[in-house]
Subunit: 236 residues, 2 copies
């Protein structure tokens, strides 16, 4: 005789399940308004508390958005918070920085390859603007960090693969969190920043020239350079 463990589905999980199915069936789409909590309470025959527990879970992962006085809506744009859970879980892991750097390199080298193949004029313009701004040093570390982030984000977007873009940005966010202090230190050194700028420029050129091989090579050495600096900084 074999017994299977009895799983007691919580009410709020069943609510989530039903919403999930509605999305899958195409009953609800981006921007759509969900029924009000009080309406759902009647329709599903559960308490409002359970509805709210389901909604808070769905809101945390960025799938829906509740606005007081208005209602609850399926989010138009899937923002980066989609992988927030991953970031949270990484807080529990040890020595996650190294793994993140490794994964980032894996992803971004292919990212830039796809970007070099698929970039359009708008991508080029955005990248050029960022690279130009990088050359004018403001002296604020925050500016440098933001420009760097924008540069890599834009490349991810230029890959024209949304899933890749989501994952890529999430990994970078998690990285930012884990090596924040180190990063700030790095960009405060003028010589390091000069090298960064030069590397970024070479990556940009390769993308502009539609040269996937060159772009991968340049991105590879750029990330290698960054990783070396970070590791040296971390280890002392």
């Amino acid at each position: 005789m074999e017994f299977e463990p009895i799983k007691t589905n919580k009410v709020y999980e069943q609510v989530i399940q039903q919403i999930k199915e509605m999305i899958y069936r195409g009953d609800i789409r981006r921007g759509d308004k969900l029924p009000s909590e009080r309406a759902l309470k009647k329709q599903l025959g559960v308490s409002r508390a359970s509805i709210r527990e389901a909604f808070s879970a769905l809101e945390m992962i960025g799938l829906i958005e509740s606005r007081p006085g208005e209602g609850t809506f399926i989010k138009e744009v899937a923002d980066k918070n989609l992988l927030e859970p991953l970031s949270l879980a990484l807080l529990l892991e040890d020595d996650v920085a190294g793994e993140l750097l490794e994964l980032r390199r894996v992803l971004e080298v292919d990212c830039v390859r796809l970007a070099a193949e698929r970039r359009n004029q708008e991508d080029i313009n955005t990248l050029e603007e960022i690279v130009n701004k990088m050359e004018i040093r403001t002296g604020f570390e925050e500016d440098s960090i933001n420009l760097d982030r924008d540069f890599h984000y834009t490349i991810a977007r230029a890959s024209k693969n949304n899933v890749l873009y989501y994952v890529m940005t999430s990994i970078m966010d998690a990285m930012d969190f884990h090596i924040k202090h180190t990063r700030t230190k790095l960009v405060s050194r003028p010589d390091t920043m000069n090298e960064f700028t030069a590397q970024h420029h070479r990556i940009f050129s390769a993308i502009k020239n539609e040269d996937p091989e060159k772009s991968m090579q340049e991105m590879g050495s750029h990330l290698e350079f960054v990783e070396k600096l970070i590791n040296r900084e971390i280890e002392g």
Copy 2:
């Protein structure tokens, strides 16, 4: 004059924030028991409903687990559900299957490279067992699919990069969901299955022989083969 939008932090979000900080500071670790809902209610000065909304969100993303009569605990193992939000968001995207396949190829080719470099005896044993089972065809499509999944999961684990493993498994799960029917069709053809088995065997050999280049090459052609079949199936 510039105005900034006023953000009203919901109570349950602040609860999550506090738990997040406790994790980051190392106050709570894996397996630890959180204070009971009624205790937290007093400590934080909020209602139990708000605590529960926070908990349900954290439980959905797989960070905590509530057990009736016992309490609420930080999960020991971060399960695959970490990227459940991603899977959900992908339901809202169009033409996501192609993007997933592309990303999977990017990830897994490097995955297998790392696996070939870092695999230990246990990895080899597990892979060998799976490959052997694959050669004995049971006739049940489900068995074939499970073995295939195990094969790729094991390689991801052998990369010794947990973050990569998390992302890889999540992508594969999302893929399973989006091309489920197609997949079942493919493994029902004996000739296709024979080719799969041969390819898996070659990948396994490369990993066993610690040959990263060969493993990447074999994995690349395997995935190319799979993608071709899937696209042919989808398009007609």
